[in-house]
Amino acid sequence: MKSDPAKALASLDLSDDERRALLAGDVGTLYRMGVNAFLMNYLARFEVCGLDVKIYNQRMRAVKVDEVGQPVA
């Protein structure tokens, strides 16, 4: 996952949009798709898909949510 994330993800049942967003570290889009944020946090912890704590934090905090954390337009 560190050296070749596309290869690591190749066998997983992901849509093109999901795969594109994951490889780009676009955690905001993934969150809006319904991906569990707690699980995505591991991407920052292990610094894969171009993410670290700072970048992850910025991208995730940019998602507009309601008071229970659900994405809003």
């Binding site: 969150y31 569990n36 905090r61």
Partner: protein
């Protein structure tokens, strides 16, 4: 007959073992867990039953019970690599765990089970501080507090009562401590994190209100206000409060010795002793 002798409410922040190793025994977290460790030792427990929410490590989205109990002679901890936590083998009590499950199912709670299992930081971190020699058997009781739909606070409190009845019907003399593990308000990895961090406290007012209700023994009020909406408003792991509510159901209506909040983390340390 087995008897419940105390209740403990504990946090389980996975980075705390690292912070305590780095900052030493005089740091706040070391002192708070240290006080609980001494009080727990005074209770001379033969068994700890810990209500806990797994962070998708023991279970996962493909198989996720609302309630489950760990039934085995021991379990491995932790399974999610929190920093500066050794690999432990924690003893458990298979026969008592199976008895508890049978009794609460008979009482109307459809509780799943796991065998040959491991647990994550939510069980391990409190034990790392409170029973580091891992000689006290522990039965983890899992409550799904992260992934909606969450069980209701009323249901978790009643489950705690049913677990207490099950324990008290066990014929051997055991001194049992009940623990509830988790935060009152916390967002991990979600949009409501604090800037630059991997977590945040979205609803500090709620966390303080929980502390107030615990201190003032207003458990009915706490249960009434701990709706799924409120728990989710408190963060994506705000449902961990359900573990404290189940613990309260198990120990009965009692005044705490103390509740010490750590509001920067949205959680608290609580102790209930009555002997």
């Amino acid at each position: 007959m087995a008897q419940i002798v105390a209740g403990f409410g504990v946090p389980h922040t996975p980075i705390f073992p690292h912070f305590v190793k780095r900052d030493g025994p005089d740091c706040e977290t070391a002192k708070l867990f240290g006080a609980q460790k001494a009080q727990l030792a005074e209770e001379r427990p033969n068994l700890i039953v810990m209500f806990d929410t797994d962070h998708l490590n023991t279970f996962f989205l493909d198989s996720l019970p609302i309630f489950a109990v760990g039934i085995d002679r021991s379990f491995k901890a932790p399974n999610d690599e929190p920093q500066d936590v050794p690999n432990y083998i924690v003893p458990s009590m298979l026969d008592v765990a199976a008895h508890i499950r049978s009794a609460v199912v008979a009482a109307g709670f459809d509780v799943g089970m796991t065998q040959n299992y491991s647990v994550d930081h939510s069980v391990t971190v409190p034990l790392h501080f409170l029973t580091p020699d891992m000689t006290v058997p522990v039965i983890p009781f899992f409550i799904s507090g992260h992934v909606p739909p969450l069980p209701s606070a009323q249901r978790c409190h009643a489950l705690g009562r049913a677990v207490a009845h099950a324990i008290e019907s066990w014929p051997a003399a055991l001194r049992v401590v009940i623990m509830g593990s988790g935060s009152f308000s916390l967002e991990v990895g979600g949009p409501r994190m604090a800037p630059g961090r991997s977590d945040g406290v979205p609803d500090p007012d709620w966390a303080m209100r929980v502390v107030k209700y615990l201190e003032e023994q207003k458990i009915d009020r706490l249960i009434a206000e701990a709706t799924q909406h409120q728990l989710l408003k408190a963060g994506n792991v705000g449902g961990e409060l359900l573990n404290w509510i189940a613990m309260l159901g198990a120990i009965g209506d009692r005044k705490p010795d103390y509740i010490v909040p750590q509001m920067q983390n949205g959680h608290a340390y609580g102790v209930w002793r009555w002997n």
